[in-house]
């Protein structure tokens, strides 16, 4: 089930908005494609990125995948639990598997993101 309260990118990240703070992770579809996640590389709080920039990477047993910013912003918090428990991304990608929180530079940027329904259509076509 793709949560309907989130926004989605074509690179399979999700964004949960809460005021001017956005939480970012990867979708259930993405974690299934990757398989067992063994390592994640995330930036440090304070780093700033433009929308579409690579903010880190996630490694599974069989592949590495880059992570892309859904929006522009400054990293305010990263999920420290993933360093020792990267498998949380497989187990609960929309919950305890979240990756980081950012302060958005411009909330209007979220207009370009997909709804759950649109994202589901997009992954079916892929």
């Amino acid at each position: 089930m793709t949560p309907t309260d989130l926004l989605y990118t074509k690179e399979h990240e999700w964004l949960r908005m809460d005021g001017e703070i956005g939480t970012i992770g990867i979708t259930d579809h993405a974690q299934q494609e990757l398989g067992d996640v063994v390592y994640i590389e995330l930036p440090k709080p304070g780093a700033t990125f433009d929308s579409g920039a690579t903010f880190g990477s996630v490694e599974s047993v069989k592949a590495v995948s880059e992570l892309f910013m859904p929006v522009s912003g400054e990293v305010v918090e990263i999920n420290e639990d993933l360093a020792s428990g990267p498998e949380k991304i497989n187990a609960d990608p929309y919950g305890v598997g979240w990756m980081m929180r950012v302060r958005l530079k411009d909330k209007n940027e979220t207009v370009g993101l997909m709804s759950a329904r649109k994202y589901d259509e997009f992954t079916k076509e892929e």
């Binding site: 299934q32 398989g35 067992d36 063994v38 390592y39 990477s57 490694e59 599974s60 047993v61 069989k62 592949a63 590495v64 497989n90």
Partner: protein, 365 residues
């Protein structure tokens, strides 16, 4: 591009919820319950693989032995009936056409098992050198191959077959029944564990597959895909054609000198390999571990003193050893155990160290 081929068990894999991916011209299951779980099952209990995409040729007739001796680098005259041998087909310049298993039924009847993606190429290669007119038949399409691998493999298989498995030594095979289906049962595999490879007819594969999974469920047997097959073979330092060796690498560079029997007499590639052996090879395939948390993958470049000197051919997290390992070609003068070098991981250099292989060796029972 022709569409990918499917094994006789394709629908069964779909029913088990396998993720299917294109691999060497085939649509194959890469994982069922997760690579790590399947890998661990093979190391601790057992896993069942469908590897029916592999190619099989029958070579028969009074000239069969001489033809295989001429085509392969290992010494096929050392085989007794019912014995299998790891070997290779070499080009005249010493490069690898393919790595193969040669099975001797008797002096006039052999089976050669080849890599799936090389089946067409290998068949043409063998036929083009068949100056002796041995009978060479491609039986790949009608032959299924299941691999039952892991410490519990024999315990799971024994009640289902009339073959006394205790008397089947490693790299030996025999014909018999498995779940009432005619099969060749071979004590071989590509995982570093004890196990069996079962050759049967395409139509016999489904009852054997399902019967094995049912019988083995209580022992922890899981269906396992190509993902786990790759991580298991890498830990055991078994090479993958197309990654760790190909037409541009020699068997000696790849560390496969033990299947090159220069003293056996004439064979294709012998002159080049003999010359290489005398002069020494310029590069070697080494096993390495990453010193940090980065994971090296296929094709990542390798550096020594900031100079690019080679590349990674296979790399992955080792699920059994809980570290990141791989194989890489390095100049021979930098290929000693303990040497550190760097691998470029997403444009930054990460430290790696050459270590002894196999990375994993099972405890002798």
């Amino acid at each position: 591009m022709s569409p990918n081929k499917r094994t006789p068990l394709f629908a069964v894999h779909k029913g088990l919820g396998a993720r299917l991916i294109p691999f060497g011209g085939w649509e194959m299951p890469v994982e069922y319950s997760g690579i790590a779980r399947e890998h661990t099952a093979v190391r601790t209990t057992a896993g069942l693989f469908d590897v029916s995409h592999m190619g099989e040729f029958e070579v028969r007739g009074p000239e069969a032995l001489d033809l295989i001796q001429h085509l392969t680098t290992n010494d096929v005259t050392r085989l007794a009936d019912g014995q299998a041998q790891y070997s290779a087909l070499a080009y005249p310049h010493g490069g690898v056409v393919d790595d193969v298993l040669v099975y001797r039924h008797n002096a006039e009847n052999f089976m050669i098992v080849v890599n799936a993606s090389n089946t067409g190429k290998d068949f043409e290669w063998i036929e083009s050198h068949n100056r002796l007119d041995a009978s060479v038949e491609n039986i790949s399409d009608e032959t299924a191959l299941l691999a039952l691998q892991g410490p519990k493999a024999a315990t799971i298989l024994q009640p289902l077959t009339d073959i006394p498995l205790d008397s089947l030594a490693p790299y030996h095979f025999t014909r018999g029944k498995v779940l009432k289906v005619d099969a060749i049962v071979s004590r071989t595999g590509y995982t570093g564990e004890d196990g069996f490879e079962l050759y049967c007819s395409a139509e016999g594969s489904e009852p054997v597959w399902k019967g094995l999974l049912d019988a083995g469920a209580s022992s922890g047997l899981l269906p396992a895909g190509l993902g786990a097959r790759n991580t298991l073979r890498l830990e055991a330092r078994m090479l993958l054609y197309g990654n760790d060796m190909d037409g541009t690498t020699s068997l000696l560079e790849a560390g496969l000198g033990w299947i090159v029997k220069l003293e056996k007499g004439e064979f294709i590639g012998r002159d080049a390999l003999l010359k290489q052996k005398k002069e020494g090879v310029r590069r070697r395939l080494v096993g390495f571990e990453m010193l940090g948390r980065d994971i090296a993958r296929d094709h990542y470049p390798a550096f020594i003193h900031n100079r690019e000197v080679g590349h990674v051919t296979s790399g992955s997290p080792s699920i059994t050893l809980k570290k990141n390992i791989g194989l890489a070609y390095l100049p021979a003068e930098h290929a000693s155990i303990g040497t550190t070098f760097q691998i470029s991981v997403r444009s930054k250099l990460s430290e790696a160290r050459i270590i002894r292989t196999p990375f994993y060796k099972r405890a002798e029972s």
